[in-house]
């Protein structure tokens, strides 16, 4: 029987992450512990894609070493990998597991897990990982429970995808602004140097490039320091020989 208040609280917590900064590991740890409580399970964990078709454990409901090892094994075979690559939820009891995952299943049994389910963390075609939940006895997850697990997986995926987009966007805008600014400052430095050193603007450019190369620095950084006079223009005159 699913506890309604816990469920409500879990969804509010998930929704919260959509509007504020959050820590991924902490977030997924919360998702794991909530799943255990809501789905009357023993343990849970979340694996995320490493970007190359593989999965990595990011958080689990507890730090038990044997649980962690179990997730390690899922790199090659297991419920998370199946849910992730198929994009579909699944569950399996002890017997089914041995057939589906002959290497993984015995280890799960050893730890005491008799039934497991996995749901993809997915928004439309974007699948970023999987949530894996374990029970200590072979009691199948009901349709309602699977639906709840799936919904939690979806909301978690939205939060993760949004966070990834924000991170990428900040990186991209930062780079764009830097590219725009560096072009300006390089031209300003060329002008300033050509005036102070009484050389042509293209000679000034050569001096900037030589200096940057010699001191192994970025051209735009050197230009910036010439412009704010951190580097005196005289320092860029070509040396004899």
């Amino acid at each position: 029987m699913v506890r309604q208040t816990t469920l409500a609280r879990a969804f509010v917590r998930l929704a919260d992450t959509l509007v504020s900064d959050f820590d991924i590991v902490e977030f997924l740890h919360g998702l794991s512990t909530d799943s255990v409580e809501i789905l009357a399970a023993e343990a849970a964990g979340v694996m995320l894609t490493d970007g190359r078709g593989g999965l990595r454990l990011i958080a689990s409901s507890e730090e038990r070493m044997r649980l962690l090892e179990l997730f390690e094994l899922q790199g090659a075979e297991g419920p998370c990998l199946d849910a992730f690559s198929s994009g579909r939820s699944l569950q399996a009891g002890a017997a089914d597991s041995r057939i589906r995952w002959p290497v993984f299943a015995p280890h799960a049994a050893e730890v005491g897990f008799q039934r497991m389910c996995a749901v993809p963390l997915r928004v439309r075609t974007d699948i970023v990982g999987a949530l894996n939940v374990f029970r200590g006895s072979d009691v199948p997850f009901t349709d309602d429970e699977m639906a709840i697990a799936q919904a939690m997986g979806e909301v978690a995926a939205i939060a993760l995808i949004q966070e990834r987009a924000l991170r990428e966007h900040s990186l991209l805008t930062g780079q764009l602004q830097a590219a725009l600014n560096s072009r300006v400052v390089i031209e300003q430095a060329k002008g300033m140097l050509s005036e102070y050193l009484n050389v042509t603007v293209s000679d000034a450019f050569e001096l900037l490039r030589t200096y940057a190369r010699e001191y192994n620095r970025k051209l735009s950084e050197v230009a910036g320091e010439v412009v704010d006079r951190t580097i005196p223009s005289a320092a860029l005159t070509s040396r004899p020989g």
């Binding site: 805008t173 031209e187 430095a189 002008g191």
Partner: protein
Amino acid sequence: MLDDGRRARIVAAVSDRDSAAGVAGLMQRLCLFAVDQMDLSGCALVLMSGADASVLASAGPHARTVTTLQMELGEGPCLDAYASRAPVLLPDLSATNANRWPAFAAAALAAGVQAEFSLPLSVGRSGIGTLDLCRDTPGMLSADHLSDALVAADIARDAVLYQQYAPGDTGLAQLLETAGSDRIVIHQATGMIAAQLDETVPNALARLRAAAFASGRSMYEIAQDVVERRVRFDE
């Protein structure tokens, strides 16, 4: 933008699979689309950073009027839209609210611009530029056109951002090269003036702008004189 239908329609209108022009072509077609569909006399897509503005694409008789005026005067609705990341909508430049930018409003009216709308291109907390629309008659954009314009701004912003990582496509780099090329002379002149007056670069820029304003010539013209050593600021 949750209205997928609107975005899909606009993307279809500005797509050209046969075009080899890449990002530059897309930007240009967005501006042309806006001018055609929204009864505009000018539209410009402008990238901005703290230091400068680069026009990526423009269309219409007033294509560059508004951008140029703002860079000359150092003030204007586009600069504000970029800095605040909020749209600035001026359906009538002769009305009182345009007095936020007295020099700009007067100059724009003198150039035949009667209404101006600036939509920021922004990503999260950062702005990267604006989509600027103007008209030679006063009047507000219809709600439909405004929505289209907002979506067009999103399309442009996304194209710029993701082009940075398009493998093997130097389209954006080339676009930035070309977009900024008309201001190179101004930046070089600013550096020279700063050296001549032993001043900071922002002060040198202010001096250049003041000289242009006082003489009725453009900053570009004065900058050319400086770079070609016909004029010095320390004489």
